[in-house]
């Protein structure tokens, strides 16, 4: 298990490229006024299975946690993310943004829980999971769960599943952009929110994987 604690008032950010066989269980605590931003990238092909579990708890008020994830899967790969966001103290903020691009007969799961006990007023907790399905055989599952017992909180969640937009595709092609390149631009655009601020090496690797989906 990876334990990560962000101390009082500090800010920490990291990008994790998930690898098959590596420990992908994260136990995270965020102290008062501390701020954490973690980005998980899962690039899976063949029969790879990547499964990541992230548990977050707050140790003091005013903690902030942003979790981002990008999974790009092809062949018969299987990727799952399980997030356990526990707002055990008042006035903490969390945001989850997980995006997936699926091809082949791959399968993905996003299972995200936001838990806000009754005393945790002033909580802000948001969760988004968006999936782009490139083939008929791939399958994305999303299980957003909100357990909110407190009043005076701001929480939201949203999950979407879609294909590359046909109007965008025709628009770009009508400008002379070849279809594969137009599709690539659409995928880069979809992923860009998660890739913002990610080190160049990992971005290059990720964009390289997108090319293989064309």
């Amino acid at each position: 298990m990876n334990r990560l604690r962000v101390d009082k008032g500090l800010a920490y950010s990291d990008v994790i490229l998930l690898r098959e066989g590596a420990d992908a269980v994260w136990d995270i605590s965020v102290a008062a006024g501390a701020s954490l931003q973690l980005t998980f990238i899962a690039l899976a092909s063949g029969a790879e299975t990547l499964s990541c579990e992230i548990s977050v708890a707050f140790e003091g008020e005013g903690g902030q946690c942003l979790l981002r994830g990008l999974y790009i899967t092809r062949d018969s790969a299987d990727v799952s993310f399980r997030v356990n966001m526990v707002h055990n103290l008042p006035r903490c903020t969390s945001r989850q943004l997980f995006k997936g691009i699926l091809a082949g007969s791959s399968h993905t799961l996003f299972d995200g829980l936001i838990k806000v006990p009754a005393h945790c007023i002033g909580t802000e907790a948001y969760q988004e999971n968006h999936n782009l399905l490139l083939t008929d055989d791939c399958r994305a599952q999303s299980l957003p769960q909100l357990e909110i017992y407190a009043d005076d909180v701001r929480c939201s969640h949203g999950a979407t599943f879609g294909r590359l937009d046909a109007d965008e595709l025709f628009y770009m092609r009508s400008r002379g952009i070849p279809e594969p390149e137009a599709r690539r631009l659409q995928m880069v655009a979809f992923a860009s929110e998660v890739l913002e601020g990610v080190p160049e090496g990992i971005v290059t690797q990720t964009l390289g994987v997108l090319e293989k989906l064309l």
Partner: protein
Amino acid sequence: MSDILLEVKNLHASVEDREILRGIDLTVGRGEVHAIMGPNGAGKSTLSGVLAGKPGYTVTSGEMLLDGESLMDLSPEERSWKGLFLGFQYPVEIPGVTNTMMLKSAVAARRKALGLPELSSAEFIKLLNSKLPLVNMDKSFLSRGVNVGFSGGEKKRNEVLQMAVLQPQLAILDETDSGLDVDALRIVGEGVNSLRSSDNSFVVITHYQRLLSYIVPDVIHVLYNGRIIKTAGRELAAEIEKRGYDWIIKEANEQA
């Protein structure tokens, strides 16, 4: 180089087995501006979509030639490389793809297809910046997502900007005037006019006469029920503005 740029012969096209175009004949000479007018549902947007290769339309018979070459089996991008440009009635918003990204990719693909050397980043930016004044746009537009959050007028100006960068032989402007206020109409009209030359042609599709007072056509066609039922000089626009389409439809019915 022939004097005829676009030749459409007896073009029939359907959407989901419903025939929309029922035998279009249209010849556009090089350097000419043709307007296609007509009531709602006449097939104006279908014609522009079919010419640009929009998926979803089936050409059931007829021909369309650009500079003597058939467009029929060409992809939308190949038509663009041949010099066809479609100005959209509803320009598409593409979040996450900036104007610069899209145009850079479009210019690079076009130059590659035409066997022209690649532009350096600096050359490309210079090209882009040189076109901005044409449509009264500032540089900040370039780094925004394509059409995302643009007003109606900004979207149409963006279409003209793309046209200016791609320098098509034939530009089809589909209801470019829809949703524009007078100022935006003037900017778009002036932008288009500045791109007119003896080498390129325009097909301006519109409901109303007002755009045609900015972009003055050589020829006006009236499209109705999937056919061109009248072709006349530019003076027809004012008459349509005054009398509507009914008399033209009636005239055509009497001839038939």
